[in-house]
């Protein structure tokens, strides 16, 4: 980078503003993380370093409930993200590689619109939909709802990536006697992989994290981690909640890091 005269770091107030923003963003997370290692029963008094609450999450009185919720969350996130990513990949291929067609702009709008619709609206709508077709609420309804709202999230990085892949690669493949299917599986798909993985990870995190829609469409007795945590918090915040939150945070950070390095390694090719 060449040295610029209008370096933003030289504006007055840059440092305090940066500190303020970072504090607002990260202080609560840091507090929760630190206090998850507290040995006290209290959530505010620090008594000493301990893994007690992590042990409690896995073996304590609520362990079964949390384990079941975690299992639901992870399986739903896995299936929903996989399905949504597949659909989003096909949608991107159709919309970006099929050339010009009528209603193309409309299609782009329709697939990304759900990102801007307030989640509560989607939640109510999904609930009404399931009720009106007589679906019994439970694991399946959560899964279906998650697949639906994950599609636009998966679609964004995939379509961004696909727009960056020139279509001469596929033409070169066709020119070298590949069938359309071979050009897709051997050339386009590998080149799209960074976008597809990003899309999958994003969808996975969004599904894992979702509360509002899940809370509306879940049946009695079926919980995901966020709804289980919310249920537990209603009876008073115990430090084991902070341990669970910290573990969820760790999972998110790991996934974001993976996603970052995949997109970074791709830049080299």
């Amino acid at each position: 980078m060449t040295k610029r005269t209008h370096d933003i770091r030289r504006y007055p107030g840059f440092l305090p503003m940066t500190i303020l923003c970072l504090t607002l963003l990260y202080a609560p997370l840091i507090v929760v993380t630190i206090y998850s290692f507290n040995s006290s029963n209290s959530i505010t008094n620090w008594e000493g370093l301990s893994l007690r609450w992590y042990v409690d999450v896995f073996t304590g009185p609520e362990a079964e409930k949390f384990k079941r919720a975690a299992w639901n969350s992870f399986t739903i996130a896995l299936i929903a993200a996989t399905t949504a990513t597949t659909i989003a990949t096909l949608a991107a291929t159709g919309m970006i590689r099929a050339g010009q067609f009528k209603l193309r702009t409309l299609s782009f709008g329709l697939i990304s619109l759900p990102l801007m619709v307030p989640e509560i609206v989607t939640a109510v709508a999904t609930l009404i939909f399931f009720n009106s077709i007589g679906f019994v609420r439970g694991y399946t309804t959560i899964l279906l709802a998650h697949i639906a709202f994950c599609i636009p999230f998966a679609y964004m990085p995939i379509s961004a990536r696909m727009q960056g892949v020139e279509d001469t690669y596929e033409q070169a493949a066709l020119d070298l006697y590949a069938s359309k299917r071979q050009a897709f599986t051997k050339i386009l798909l590998p080149l799209m992989m960074p976008g597809i993985i990003s899309g999958f990870l994003l969808a996975f995190i969004i599904s894992l994290d979702d509360f509002i829609i899940t809370n509306f469409v879940k049946g009695a007795g079926v919980e995901t981690l966020p709804t289980a945590i919310f249920g537990a918090v209603k009876q008073g915040i115990k430090p084991n909640i902070m341990a669970i939150s910290t573990m969820l945070l760790a999972v998110s950070i790991i996934m974001v890091t993976i996603s970052y390095f995949i997109s970074k390694s791709d830049n080299k090719t």
Partner: protein, 367 residues
């Protein structure tokens, strides 16, 4: 003259009245030409002339609006690209970035159903041919532009296509490499015996490599012939202007006698040249005179008697270009070889000079 239409049995690609329209825009208008087997054929023209469109139609990436394309007698314009035994070297090479150099080169043969072992052996041979064996396991991104170019060539030649299509393959290289690649391409064509169809906007590239050149403009064929014929005997103003440099003089035909036209250049100058069909006395036409076929002297040595003053000298390495303002006439450019041999004296700006013309240098052209 090599400028003859190839015999039917030797035709590799036959373009028969091909038209390409995009909506109301006509990219190619009733194009007809025959490309001989084992020929280095060049489609030359400015951007937007339709040369790349024609190439992509032969490859199968563009539909043909009207007309037919034959490949060794077989009609191919309705076949998909993967059913046509032609391969393309793309402008930006389009090497598959996720595959090694060997996998790139072997791709075509594998898609044709050859065994992996056979495809890789053949890929190895091709890489040897383009002198890249030591880079076989690298990724394309780890190669220089010139090396990528040669991988693209090897990849396109590996399946032994009947015709190789090259879409401005040298345009991304720097000048020195581009010049070296010209000879390499030409010798590769001779070694393999495969018909090359080469698209370029660079007339020097076309002149140095091609057996025959098709000059195109505005979706139409302007002239078809050997490099030398096109340079020495351009059919029209466009070709004369596009190929090399020329003095294009506006003249009026005074009279035609015995197949020679005498043309009025203004300022009492009369130039004579071979008459052409369809031009009669009084016609407003153009004379094309190549600057290297003019020479300067202190006293007149030819009958035309062009006189003027030197305006400027431009040094261009091998040659010196002198701009002369003819007395009561237009400016004319004279090119003198930058060597001590011959009578190449340099006249300084302001000097009075005579401009002399080699016999047959002036060519009469209509618009």
């Amino acid at each position: 003259m090599i400028n003859t239409t190839p015999e039917k049995s030797q035709i590799a690609v036959d373009i028969n009245h091909v038209t390409k329209r995009y909506g109301t825009f006509t990219a190619l208008q009733h194009m007809s030409l025959s490309i001989a087997d084992n020929e280095f054929f060049t489609l030359l023209g400015p951007s937007g002339c339709g040369k790349t469109t024609l190439l992509r139609m032969i490859a199968g990436f563009e539909d043909v609006t009207e007309g037919e394309i034959y490949l060794f007698g077989d009609e191919i314009e309705n076949l998909p690209p993967n059913k046509r035994p032609v391969n393309t070297v793309f402008q930006n090479y389009a090497l598959f970035p996720h595959m090694s150099v060997t996998d790139n080169v072997a791709f075509g043969l594998e898609m044709l159903g050859r065994s992996k072992a056979e495809a890789r052996t053949r890929a190895g041979e091709m890489l040897e041919l383009v002198q890249l064996s030591q880079f076989a396991n690298r990724k394309p991104s780890q190669l220089s532009g010139g090396q990528q170019q040669r991988v693209a060539l090897a990849r396109a030649l590996a399946p032994q296509p009947k015709v190789l299509l090259l879409d401005e393959p040298l345009s991304a290289l720097d000048l020195k490499l581009r010049q070296a690649m010209r000879y390499e391409l030409k010798s590769l064509q001779r070694e393999t015996g495969i018909t090359f169809i080469f698209v370029t906007h660079d007339q020097e590239e076309a002149l140095t490599m091609s057996d025959r050149i098709a000059v195109m403009s505005n979706g139409e064929l302007q002239q078809l012939g050997a490099a030398r014929d096109i340079y020495e005997a351009p059919h029209n103003v466009f070709v004369a202007n596009f190929i090399g440099e020329t003095n294009l003089l506006d003249v009026t035909v005074k009279h035609i006698t015995g197949g020679r036209a005498t043309c009025d250049l203004g300022g009492d100058y009369a130039l004579s040249c071979d008459a052409i069909d369809g031009v009669s006395a009084g016609a407003q036409v153009h004379l094309s005179v190549r600057p290297e076929r003019l020479y300067l002297s202190e006293t007149a040595t030819d009958a035309e008697g062009l006189e003027g003053r030197v305006r400027d000298n431009i040094f261009i390495g091998t040659d010196i270009q002198t701009i002369v303002a003819l007395n009561n006439g237009p400016e004319i450019i004279v090119r003198t070889s930058n060597s001590d041999r011959g009578s190449s004296r340099i006249f300084e700006p302001g000097n009075a000079v005579h401009v002399n013309m080699e016999a047959g240098a002036a060519r009469l052209l209509v618009d």
